[in-house]
Symmetry: C2
DNA sequence: TTAGCAGTGTGATTGTGTTCACAGCACGCC
DNA sequence: GGCGTGCTGTGAACACAATCACACTGCTAA
């Protein structure tokens, strides 16, 4: 019973998602129990961190057998529940957009996804099992079938406008791949995945050859 | 004169890269001076943070006119210098790989880039001005032309092996798009860009409609 | 049955990154 | 020329997240 906990820290949510991914794999391999240090090694965090996380979300294990794989997955499902999201609205069906559809199709076939593009050649077709609409239809499609998450995979110049349109159409979370900072209402969650920026960052740390792999 | 400062914090490097991007744009618009609060608004951080960052890297402005755009760009170039990197070795020329080449060609035409793929159909051709080699040639190409940064855009199953090969070939920084955690020596910097994970994270925060846009 | 052991649960601590608050300064204006 | 204004530079305070350290628990085996 997920007791609707108070705001989970940003980083912790990432770890929980990662835990779940590995737990599912363990389940597939027939494992029923797992220890904190095993989960920790897989995710490059400390066992103490894992225990703290699981404590925070209120899942408890046993010293003798560790944590129950299946029970933990269900507990996480209660927290990370994504059924209420409606689905993902992806704008921009270029290379990046199609790569994202790849991920969605492969890892989350259960989600509803609609793709949009400005280029008529790309629209109307089915990509990875998802329908690609003309961008003009964005408002209509989202009115018929509400989606809480928007993914911005358009050129930098179009990113801000796209964000506004998505928000107006009811989206409350954005994953932004464009190399610009979006200006949106505080009520909207924005995660930036700025590839060009990451490339430069890695380049910086690669020079020194330092060991800084956080997270 | 970059005084080879001690390890810069991970997050701060991201901000510095972002600052530089905006400064270049300002320069293009003919601005010569900029205030901390202007830079801050563009990047969604506080003015105090900007001043602190610039202080840390040892760049100093004037109360009357703010910071000199051109001087700051040059100062940042000294810190973020990427000439010594050799270039980027991109493994995986699928949709994602080509999207990354897009970014590189558009934002960093000055970098040297080599792409690799296992599929003979994709190799030998020129994409976005970059040569795409057969994966077997990785060691040979990097021996001839050392590159410090590796970008992993291959399926999850192949990611770990790819990482090992890149490191053996002299790479000391990795940008990993595969949805797995890599196990690498401590001397190698790894940045994970786990798109599937980010999608789930945004989905989580979109549900609550919370305002959590960190960074 | 009891000692040993391996792992969990958690208060306390440390460490790190961000924000506050204010002294100091340079220009513009009266 | 002196005064006000608005910005920078920075020590201090704060907030948060990760880590440590250890009491507690349940199994195992002699």
């Amino acid at each position: 019973m997920p007791d609707r906990v108070e705001p989970l820290p940003n980083r912790m949510v990432e770890r929980l998602v990662a835990y779940r991914r590995h737990l599912r794999q363990c389940l597939g391999e027939g494992r029923t129990q797992i220890y904190s240090h095993e989960l920790a090694r897989l995710e490059r965090v400390t066992p103490a961190q894992v225990r703290r996380d699981l404590m925070t979300i209120g899942y408890t294990g046993s010293p003798a057998t560790g944590y129950g794989v299946e029970g933990l997955i269900e507990h996480l499902a209660g927290l990370l529940d994504t059924r209420s999201i409606g689905g993902f609205a992806l704008v921009g069906a270029g290379h990046l957009g199609r790569a994202i559809l790849d991920y969605l199709a492969r890892q989350h076939p259960e989600y509803q996804v609609a793709a949009f593009d400005i280029n008529p050649e790309k629209t109307g077709r089915i990509t990875h099992g998802y329908r690609c609409y003309m961008i003009d239809e964005l408002e209509r499609v989202l009115a018929e079938c509400p989606m809480r998450v928007g993914v911005i995979a358009v050129p930098a110049e179009a990113a801000q406008d796209t964000a506004i349109r998505l928000i107006a159409a009811g989206v409350s979370g954005l994953l932004n791949f464009a190399p610009v900072r979006l200006h949106v209402p505080d009520s909207v969650f924005v995660e930036d995945a700025d590839i060009a920026l990451l490339l430069e960052k890695v380049a910086f740390f690669a020079r020194a050859g330092r060991s800084e792999e956080k997270v």
